[in-house]
Every structure is written in C-alpha cells, then in structure tokens.
Amino acid sequence: MEVLFWNKELETLPRPKLEKMQFQRLQKTVDQALKTHFYQRRLGKAGITSGKDICCLKDLQKVPFTNKDDLRKNFPFGMLAVDFEQVVRLHSSSGTTGIPTVIYLTQEDLNRWTDLVARSVVATGCTKKDVFQNMMTYGLFTGGLGLHYGAERVGMTVIPIGGGNTQRQVHVMKDFKTTTVHITPSYLLHIHSKLSEYNMDIDELHLKRAFLGAEPYSENTRLKLEELYGIDAFNSYGLSEMNGPGVAFECIYKQDMHVWEDAYIVEIIDPVTGEVLEDGAKGEVVFTILTRDAMPLLRYRTRDLAFLHPEVCSCGRTHRRLSRILGRTDDMLIINGVNVFPSQIEEVIMSIPEVGTNYQIQIDKAGALDRLTVKVEIYAKMFTGEASALDALKVRIMEKLRASITINPRIELHEPGVLPAFEGKAKRVVDTREAL
C-alpha cells in the first residue's frame, strides 16, 4: 500500500517536536481566548490571566472545561475573539434542542481548516484524479462545505450535490465515474437497497471509497458497506465546535482515526470526575483547538465516548489515533437502571445475516418497568418460509442482545423496507417513556 501525505513533515513530526508546537500554540490560544469576556471570567477564576500562566502542556489541566451550554449561553457573540468584520464564515447548529450555537472563522482560520481536510482526504489515498461526490448536507452544517473545500484544495473533481434525491445521486455517480463519496452510513445503505429499482448494477459504478460520518454506526456496518460496494470505507470524526470534518480521519490502514495534533489537543477524561485518563482508557473526548483565532475553545467537552491508541500506526504518522465513537454521554439510554448504548444494539443486529440493515429501538413502559423492543427487518434472500426458523431467529437475536446489554429485549420481525430508512441522520431510537 502506498502511503500518501499532504504535509509529510507535519504529519510525521517526532512527538517531542509536535508537543513543543502544541505548547507554543496553546499559549497563543489562551491569549487569544482572553480577548473574550467569557474566557476572561472563566480563566480568571482559575488564576490564568495570560498565556504565560501555562508553563507546560500539562498545565492545560488547570484550564476549566467548556461545554455546549456555555456556547448556548454566550450566543451569538459572547465567544467571538476578533472584530466581527474579520469573520469570513460562520456555521451554526440547527438548534433543535432549543438555543442554537455558532462558530466563527477568519480567512486564516478557514485556510487552516481547509488544509486539515485536504490532509485528511489525502491520507485515505485520494489524489487530484479522484471524482468526489459530496452527499453531505451543505449550508449551516459543517459537513458539506468542510469536505468540499478540502477536496478542492487537493484538486479533486468536486460534485457538490448535497443530500437526498437518491435516483439522481446514483445517475450522477455513474455518469461522472465518481470514485469517492462523503455520506452518512445509513444513506449509503439506503442507496444500495434502491439500485435494483433503478436498474443499476453495482459494476456500473466506479466507487473506490466512502467517507462515513455524521451519525454513529458500528464496525459491522462499515464492513457490510465495504462488502456491498466493494470499496474502502473510512471513519472520520469532526464536530462543528472544532470546525467540522477534518479533526480526525483514518489513513489507508483503517485502524482508527489520526487526530491532527498540531491543530488540536485531545484529552480523554472520566465523564463523572473530569480526571484525565491514560491512553487506551475509554472516556469522554475533550478538544482544544489551536488554530482558530475567531473563536478559540479550550477543553471543549464533546460528550462523545472513545479512547486513544497509544501504539504508532504503520503509515508513519506520529499523530495519535482516536477510536470510533463508542457512544455519547447523552445518547446513553438507561433501561431499568442499566446503561445501554444504541451502538451496542446495532453491532449485534449487523452481525446477524438473516435480518436487514434497517432497525428501530423502542422503549416504553410495561407497568412499572421499562420495556425494550428491537424491531428488525427480515432479509428477503435468507427467508426459508419456516415458522420455526423465524422463532429460532428471534431467540438468537434476543440472546445475543442479552449477552451484550444484559437486559432482555423483545424482538419484532418486520417486512423488508418498512422500517424507516433515513436520508439524513438516523433517528433509530423511539423513547416514549414519560420523563420523571
């Protein structure tokens, strides 16, 4: 396998040099943050009034955490660290939870972000010969424009098609010989289920790779997609608070995602105590962005759960790798007192060949107790017509789930194609329990 680099020197910088760079940038970032009222107060309370108060990288732990709620409370301008006229781009969250949040970028910030995205796509083997169909939503959401700019910088042919309109997506893929797509895993599964309806054969497409993101999915889903399309599917990680895509990306070895540590300091903390954990331990991911003047964020709590690999990757990059997101501190379901992550359920379902790719998790009350129902679709090609085989299948799914999540779910079998297939972020959990 040929390892391609966008900026080989930075990507393979020896750890001591990389950490020195992080430290210098952290001091500057703290100074920049202190230009906002929010951080003057927040850092002042912790005795930090200048970047000089940070004497080594470990001193970052003196800095208090920033969280989503801080962004909401300071909306719209409370965390802006430059004159508004310096801002060339803003991205805002949809605000489905109430108050929106906003992120600002100067021209230089945008330039640095674009460079990180270019680095990310080159790490997957992309060159300017590739044709890139960007099926992620454009607009205020960072996923669409972020990858768009990065791919353009590499010189790839960018098709800014956005999400939805599956039939057109498939025809565009065929007509322009698309090699690379950026897409949610649920949508890529959905497209595959539609190919026969459009009389399209998988061999008529030229797809080589997919960048997956924007929703949680299991390793089995990735493997299933790779098998269905005969492609490499890369995990990527980003969040709008840290610019968007391009925070961490898999290289061609696909052994989890390199965090671009010259631009971000990543920490894994115990979500309850806030204590920083060793590499390899699972906890909440916390980021400090080092390359954004318009809106510095220090120790931002992502609420994503993951771990860092301490081992060096075969590609030669020195930037540590972040595991796939194992759950969200706030996606976690508590069912009869047991913590359950939807990703655990998905993992089991994807390992059972007799059921399809769509599923739904339903939680309701049966008397005083919570009741978990997992709805899955029969996979038509594996159907034998035997009622006893269906009974055995239900028992097998139930037992596998019980082994993984320790509680007994009810299993419902449904016809192929009836459970909601989502063209955007999958909403696969229906919780009808009344809040206490």
Binding site: I378, Y379, A380, F383, T384, G385, E386, A387, L390, E412, L413, H414, E415, P416, G417, V418
Partner: protein, 144 residues
C-alpha cells in the same frame, strides 16, 4: 410435488390485499391458501398455478417469500378418511408439520396439502396409495 409459496407479512390491515393484488396483476390463479398468525407477523401460504412466477413477482415487490414442496392428496368426502390418511402416515413415521384441507362442494371431492417431515425417506406416493388415496401429480396441477 405440489409447491407452496410462503410469504412473510406483517400482521396489519392491507397486507393480505397487497399480496392478492400482485397475484392478480400476474394473472395467477390461487387454488388454496391459509394464514398462520405469529403475533406481529403472519405467514401466508398459497398454492397457485405458476409457483415460480408468483415467487418472482412477490420478490420483485420486496416480499420475503420461499417455495416449498408439499404433498397434495385427494380423497372422497367420507367420514373417517382423514383418520385413514393420518394412520398411514404415522405407521411410516411421517410427521405432519402443517396441513390445510377442504372439500369442493359440487363434486364432493376432498383435498389437502401437507407440509411433511419425511425422516425415513419413504415413498409417499406408495404410502398414500396403499391407504386408498391419490397424490396429485404435477401434470395434473401444472401446465407443462
């Protein structure tokens, strides 16, 4: 042997109709059918004049369905005939997994379809004939 098509459907209004609609569109003739209630879903079992075409048509519409050999037996409409048949099958260790039967009112002819587990591998045609009944032959059922 006769072929039965088993179709997986959800247990909710309109699913039987969506199956019969597809059979009608394809000009398929239904000779027998039954539905097994399995809670949130059901299994529709049909015997039609062109089983493979029915399977393909339903699969095209996304249905999970499968064909299976079943034993089609005819007998005169007379008290005790079912008992004679089941005795003959029992004597040969043949297990009946599922069955449905009916009598055609005009010619008083009894007919049944049997899903069987023939673990001993006996010649069913011989067993059924020895009991005084007839296994319906493929050429009587299907156009060749």
């Amino acid at each position: 042997m006769a072929q039965q098509l088993t179709i997986f459907v959800e247990n909710r209004p309109g699913r039987m109709k969506s199956v019969s609609d597809i059979l009608l569109e394809n000009h398929l003739n239904i000779w027998a059918f039954t539905i097994q209630d399995r809670g949130e879903f059901g299994l529709i079992k049909v015997v039609v004049d062109r089983p493979e075409q029915a399977r393909l048509a339903l699969a095209d519409h996304g249905f999970a369905c499968a064909l299976k050999d079943v034993l089609a037996v005819t007998a005169a409409d007379k008290p005790g005939n079912l008992d004679k048949l089941t005795t003959a099958l029992l004597d040969n260790d043949v297990n009946i997994a599922d069955a449905y039967g009916f009598v055609t009112p005009n010619d008083r002819q009894g007919m049944c379809f049997l899903e069987i587990k023939n673990t001993q591998g006996v010649d069913l045609e011989v067993v059924v004939a020895a009991a005084g009944f007839t296994v319906v032959k493929d050429e009587e059922l299907y156009e060749t």
